[in-house]
Subunit: 172 residues, 2 copies
Amino acid sequence: MIKVLRLGHRAGRDDRISTHVGLTSRQWGADEIVYSGERDKSMMESQEDIIDRWGGDFEVSYTEEWRKVIKEFDGLKIHLTMYGERIDEKMDEIKEESEEQDLLVIVGAEKVPRWVYLNVDYNISVGNQPHSEIAALAVFLDRYQDNEIKEEFEGADIEVEPSEDRKITREK
Amino acid sequence: MIKVLRLGHRAGRDDRISTHVGLTSRQWGADEIVYSGERDKSMMESQEDIIDRWGGDFEVSYTEEWRKVIKEFDGLKIHLTMYGERIDEKMDEIKEESEEQDLLVIVGAEKVPRWVYLNVDYNISVGNQPHSEIAALAVFLDRYQDNEIKEEFEGADIEVEPSEDRKITREK
């Protein structure tokens, strides 16, 4: 099981970024995203509408108590940050350690409290330059899943037929 | 040489997403990003401030004439879209074909005109679900570069020292 925790959401300013964080988690096979920071019902609802239509049982929820989510998670806890140890040097170890454990992946918005750095198993950088928590999460999950991108989403109303040069969707 | 073209930027609504697209391109070794859609000076300037501080010679520019950028590009042209052919099935071919050619990677915002699909060499999907152009771009570039994440940025004022549990930066 893979759970993603998004810290420090700011309504308005972060709504599209946080939506992308959720949908990226879903595409790479995570089971669940938990948002923290400001409660943003409309961001979560519009994401749930997409999920209803495109299928799968990805769960979206909100909590104020993000410290508790981290503390009480029974499994391997990874915080993605540009300040962390390099992904290249740690991925094998992470894969091995999480083989029989669940995985919690944490991504922050602008400022992440020091507490997070100290209460996870790994602080991992996907590049040490300022870029994007969406990019970091996508590449982390892509490598973690050995380049497996999830294709089947149960109960979908719609799916894409991959095409060379046009948009083809099938209503199901 | 890798150039990224961002289509259909909408000022305000897309500013953070488009900034992440630019910085992600830079992190994975692209040379240049060209924005199209609405001209957004403040988005571009704040990105240039980050680049000045963190180094490298990544170029940021704007054009109204995005069709011309595509038409006149001398090299391999890839459009990333959830409707395209699967990355797994095409990456080897793309790597081979671009060995002695420059690469143009195109990512859109909401609606991409059919013209784009017809005027590129490949329409490629990084997953066929709705998620994020930032995630698609990051994973495409990560795989294209054989998991090489760029580490050296010339002329940087600041750099990160990767750490197990804290933020360490060096002023240079």
